[in-house]
């Protein structure tokens, strides 16, 4: 499958989030998820917002921080196999545009969800917990860190 690669890009996983239109697509799909949740009759608006943030944060934690390696055979001879997707973005360079965007998004969602849930206590706790789950592993201090050897190999 790697025959015919004309470029020397070692791991395409590092750069596809910089392609044209990814950020806007991400936001649009998030809103699509929210509208689907809103259209279920027994879910009120505050619950819909909390559900959106929860689903988004849990999926983002799984896809960015639990899954390791790339879904193709990369030509970097396995250097990226131990790294999670978050660590592979832009080949490990911190504070690029994509990384900043992906770090700010859960925080903005948290603000919007707090507003729509009228700062209710249970919703706040849930939203805060999932937001921390999504934002804290993205700090540079956690680059390459595997707590308690979970997910190390």
């Amino acid at each position: 499958m790697n025959v015919g690669i004309a470029q020397g890009e070692r791991n395409p996983n590092s750069s596809w989030l910089n392609s044209r239109g990814v950020w806007l697509t991400y936001i649009i799909l998030l809103f699509v998820l929210h509208f689907i949740l809103l259209s279920i009759p027994y879910i009120t608006t505050p619950v819909a917002w909390t559900l959106t943030t929860t689903i988004h944060n849990i999926c983002s934690f799984y896809l960015f921080h639990l899954v390791k390696g790339a879904p193709w055979e990369t030509s970097d001879q396995g250097r990226a196999r131990r790294f999670t997707f978050w660590e592979q973005i832009d080949n490990g360079v911190q504070w690029t545009g994509t990384r900043k965007f992906l770090q700010i998004l859960p925080i903005i969602l948290f603000f919007i969800a707090s507003f729509y849930t009228k700062y209710d206590r249970t919703h706040f706790v849930i939203n805060l917990a999932t937001m921390l789950l999504a934002v804290v592993p993205k700090f540079p201090i956690f680059f390459g860190v595997r707590l308690f050897d979970i997910n190390r190999y």
């Binding site: 690669i5 004309a6 020397g8 392609s19 044209r20 697509t25 799909l29 193709w72 055979e73 196999r81």
Partner: protein, 510 residues
């Protein structure tokens, strides 16, 4: 990619390359496409892991106590995306890949995991082979020469060039190549990929700097890595970035010791086969002279195909051949043979003859292949306009301009230089790649469609390779079918050239 300003080139009447920006709707639906493929991929992988579904691909045995050799996640893309459209790739052919190609028809019972031949052959117009000058045929005077040479010289030399593998024929080939290109001397190797991979290390080593274009072919990347030099990559055809890199590297010198570099080699290709773009040779030569670097030009796709006399991009840009230090090319494309060559000054070629890995360890070119190239070169060196060689070169140039003009006027988003025989038209999403391929096959045209990871994620494309063996009628048929399929797939979305029906796109003489 955004629409770039036309590149100002002094005293050359050529045209600019335009890369139209991706329409946002196409990018959005491509991402949705990938997301749906991903969701189904995860679901099917889950079914396969829990053995609800039979695993059809081969999988590792994974006995306990042993570290797994492969991550099954690495073949995720192959299992779930590539396998679904695998009938579009690796099709067995049943004849010589000339202007028309016979494909062996095959059917699949289990969704592309295995194929069966029906025994029929589908005759298609062939837009997938690098048969630029149309020399791919197995009968005719050139083929007769080749058969004669087998009787005289055998099938293989079975020896490396430095031992017994250097025949009189090889020297004749090398002097013909040098005469064709206008250089002092040349040397030929049995494999084009190996020419790049094994010879860059005899030119550069530790302490040298290699500046390589972003989209260089894997053989150049491998050769550069094998040489041990420091490699810096500049953005594709971006002369300002290259100049900035040159200046920064010369000022700061080698890493850590800051000593001056032993030599600086700029590696470019003549025609880039995925984009169809040309290198900006006049600006490169100016830069190279200003900063005293060397230039390595890989003319794999451009030798024989570009230039008014077929001598490649140097001929096209009307530059001096002595300004390019190392001219490399392959015989696989326009010459319908196999192998590669390096041409340049006599000192350079003498050095390569002694120091190259390919000369010391690799078997030299096989005699019938040498004879094929010699016969083709004899035709191409002849400058007479009425003879075969020039007629083919002119036919290819006409085909290129005609096809590209009409295709872009019909509203397709086409990349690359207006005179390059490689024509990529953008399809963007993996499903459209498969659909275009299959629909064109139904109409009797075989094309090559490429997607991720050979191209960037959203920029899947169909790459038409034109040939001198295509007649105007064949190209018209292809264009009409492309119009039909383009409408089916909503491909004709160019804003620079709003779409027009086929009969309204007439040719302007160029």
């Amino acid at each position: 990619m955004t629409v770039r300003d036309p590149t100002p080139v002094p005293e050359h009447p050529s045209l600019e390359e335009v890369y139209e920006a991706t329409p946002f709707s196409e990018a959005f639906w491509t991402y949705v496409n990938y997301i749906i493929l991903n969701i189904f991929g995860w679901f099917r992988d889950f079914l396969r892991r829990t053995r609800i579904e039979n695993r059809k691909g081969s999988a590792e045995y994974n006995p306990s106590g042993f570290v797994p050799l492969y991550q099954s996640y690495e073949s995720f893309y192959t299992r779930n995306v590539y396998q679904r459209i695998a009938d579009c790739f690796n099709r067995p052919i049943g004849g010589v890949p000339g202007g028309k190609l016979d494909l062996m028809e095959r059917v699949t019972e289990d969704y592309n995991w295995s194929f069966n031949f029906t025994g029929n052959k589908i005759t298609t117009i062939n837009l997938g082979s690098y048969n630029y000058l149309g020399f791919a045929n197995n009968n005719g005077p050139i083929a007769d020469n080749v058969i004669e040479s087998i009787k005289e010289n055998g099938l293989a030399t079975a020896s490396s060039t430095q031992e017994f593998g250097n025949l009189k024929q090889h020297r004749k080939l090398e002097s013909l190549v040098a005469q064709f290109l206008g250089t002092e001397d040349a040397i030929a190797f049995g494999m084009g990929f190996a020419t790049n991979a094994l010879n860059i290390s005899s030119l550069c080593g530790k302490g040298c700097l290699i500046l390589s274009d972003e989209l260089n072919h894997t053989s150049l990347v491998l050769g550069a890595r094998l040489s041990g030099a420091v490699i810096k990559v500049y953005k594709h055809n971006d002369m300002k970035h290259l100049e900035r890199l040159l200046r920064d590297s010369i000022v700061s010198g080698q890493p850590r010791t800051h000593r001056p570099w032993q030599k600086i080699l700029i590696i470019v290709e003549g025609v880039y086969s995925m984009e169809g773009s040309l290198c900006k040779l006049p600006e490169l030569i100016e830069l190279k002279k200003k900063y005293r670097a060397y230039l390595y030009l890989d003319e794999a796709h451009s030798i024989g195909a570009m230039g008014s006399r077929g001598r490649g991009v140097v001929d096209y840009w009307k530059c001096d051949v002595n300004d390019v230090d190392v001219l490399m090319g392959t015989f696989t494309k326009s010459f319908a043979a196999a192998g590669g060559y390096i041409a340049g000054k006599k000192e350079l070629i003498d050095h390569i003859r002694i120091n190259s890995h390919a000369c010391a360890y690799a078997i030299s070119m096989s005699p019938p292949v040498v004879e094929q190239i010699i016969s083709v070169l004899n035709l191409l060196i002849d400058d007479d306009e009425t003879r075969e060689g020039r007629k083919r070169i002119n036919q290819l140039a006409w085909n290129t301009r005609y096809f590209r003009q009409r295709l872009s006027k019909m509203g397709f988003i086409v990349y690359g230089h207006p005179h390059s025989p490689v024509v990529p038209a953008l399809l963007y999403s993996p499903s459209k790649i498969a659909a275009f391929n299959r629909e064109m096959l139904k109409r009797g045209v075989s094309v090559v469609t490429v997607g991720f990871p050979a191209t960037p994620l959203v920029l899947g494309r169909v790459r038409f390779c034109l040939s001198a063996s295509h007649t105007k009628e064949m190209l018209d048929d292809v264009l009409k079918y492309a119009e039909e399929v383009g409408d089916l797939l909503n491909m004709r979305q160019s804003k620079l050239n709003p779409k027009k029906p086929f009969h309204e796109t007439e040719l302007i003489a160029h």
